[in-house]
């Protein structure tokens, strides 16, 4: 619960917002869904609303898609479906939460917060997305570096996510959840850069695991330089080792078994899309 003494700030410039969050107890407000989660918030003294910063955009320059941190999940799903671009993002984000929540959850908030149930990270990591941040450390970083280093914990504002759109990439995502609107238990995403039917490069990520995210480096190696076949998929799946946290629904071993099945399904779908 937020204290009723909180101060609101409505900056109109990104630098102004980034300066404000250096002060103790002052945090960013994007869609507000995280801030309203039931947990003690007595240390919060101020909220910096980012809606007037002009960051709720999705634009394309050359082959780079720029997704502003203020864009909501619903904005990204609508753009992706309408333009038929980066469809792995709409496939994933259309299953996140519910319509009214997707209208509030922002890309920046979800990236900075990185909840265990995130189904935003895996597809972006598979697509080798970059992140533009301003704060204690400013600059453009690979999302993989950002998520796996202390950068994510530094005081900063996410300006945008960049994805280079390549026409030789085949990508897909699989989400394990019990019912449609429930938080995903895990998400697997893969992107294969193809040279005709040969995999030149592969990036495969799983989120929702014990370490939050894992890159399936060994499985990626199996596919590089080869055409995707059922034998190769089975061989890669045998080399996948994932550590999950058990919860009240499923044990860790069960989740790993399901993840392997989803891994095979995902790669089979990518194989079919190449034909």
């Amino acid at each position: 619960m937020l204290p009723n003494s909180i101060q609101w700030y409505f900056p109109t410039k990104v630098k102004e917002a980034a300066k404000l969050i250096h002060k103790d107890g002052i945090i960013l407000h994007g869609g507000g869904t995280k801030i309203l989660e039931p947990q003690p918030r007595s240390s919060v003294k101020g909220l910096v609303d980012i809606s007037a910063l002009g960051l709720n955009y999705i634009k394309v320059t050359g082959n780079i898609v720029h997704i502003g941190s203020g864009a909501t999940f619903a904005d990204v799903v609508a753009w992706s479906r309408d333009k038929k671009r980066l469809t792995v993002l709409s496939d994933s984000l259309s299953h996140a939460a519910s319509t009214p929540l997707r209208n509030r959850i922002t890309i920046g908030g979800s990236i900075k917060d990185f909840p265990m149930w995130s189904n935003l990270y895996a597809p972006l990591l598979a697509l080798d997305a970059k992140i533009d941040i301003i704060g204690e450390r400013s600059g453009i970083f690979s999302l993989e570096e950002y998520a796996t280093s202390p950068l994510i914990k530094s005081k900063h504002l996410v300006r945008e996510i960049r994805v280079v759109e390549k026409h030789d990439i085949r990508s897909g995502v699989k989400i394990f959840h019990v019912v449609r609107f429930e938080y995903p238990i895990f998400t697997i995403a893969a992107a294969c850069t193809m040279d005709k039917n040969i995999v030149r490069d592969a990036r495969i990520f799983v989120t929702g695991v014990k370490k939050k995210l894992v890159r399936l480096v060994t499985a990626e190696k199996v596919f590089r330089g080869h055409s995707i076949s059922d034998e190769l998929i089975n061989s890669a799946a045998n080399q996948v080792s994932l550590t999950f946290v058990p919860d009240y629904k499923f044990g860790a071993a069960y989740k790993e078994k399901v993840a392997k099945v989803y891994f095979k399904d995902l790669l089979r779908e990518i194989k079919e899309s190449i034909r």
């Binding site: 009723n4 609101w8 909220l47 609303d49 809606s51 619903a74 009214p100 209208n103 509030r104 609107f181």
Partner: protein, 159 residues
Amino acid sequence: MKISFTINSRKRDLELQPNETLLNVLRKNGLTEVKSGCEEGECGACLVLLDGKPVNSCQVLAMSVRSKKITTVKGIGTLHSPHIIQKAFAQGGADQCGFCSPGMVLAAYSLLQKNPNPTREEIAEGLDGNLCRCTGYVKIVEAVHEAASKLRNEKSQAE
């Protein structure tokens, strides 16, 4: 403090605390057609439209939406002048206890504004943030289909 909001196309000064949700602010200022359910963004009873987009008002801090247009169910139709969607819900038995109906109607309204001829799957996705414990959803989906058809007829006759 008092802050000015645009609700159902009218300017209104509402009393609020800076940490209050839009749901609390609306209800304590008399807009009780916005229902308070789970208060954690799961049920959709508190759904309102913000600049035409459905949101859970329990998941929105009121101060963050001062400049947006807020629409409650009374903004699209009233008891004496119901919207086609509200009529379809009543005639089709799509509301029983009625607690989820304001949110359901607004979610359907928003969907049909964007997509006048939705499939069953698209209706399910449009209403995925609204829970109903009475109807089992069949009548609700049928009512949205019926309303969509009537709205399309109304539009084609007007043209």
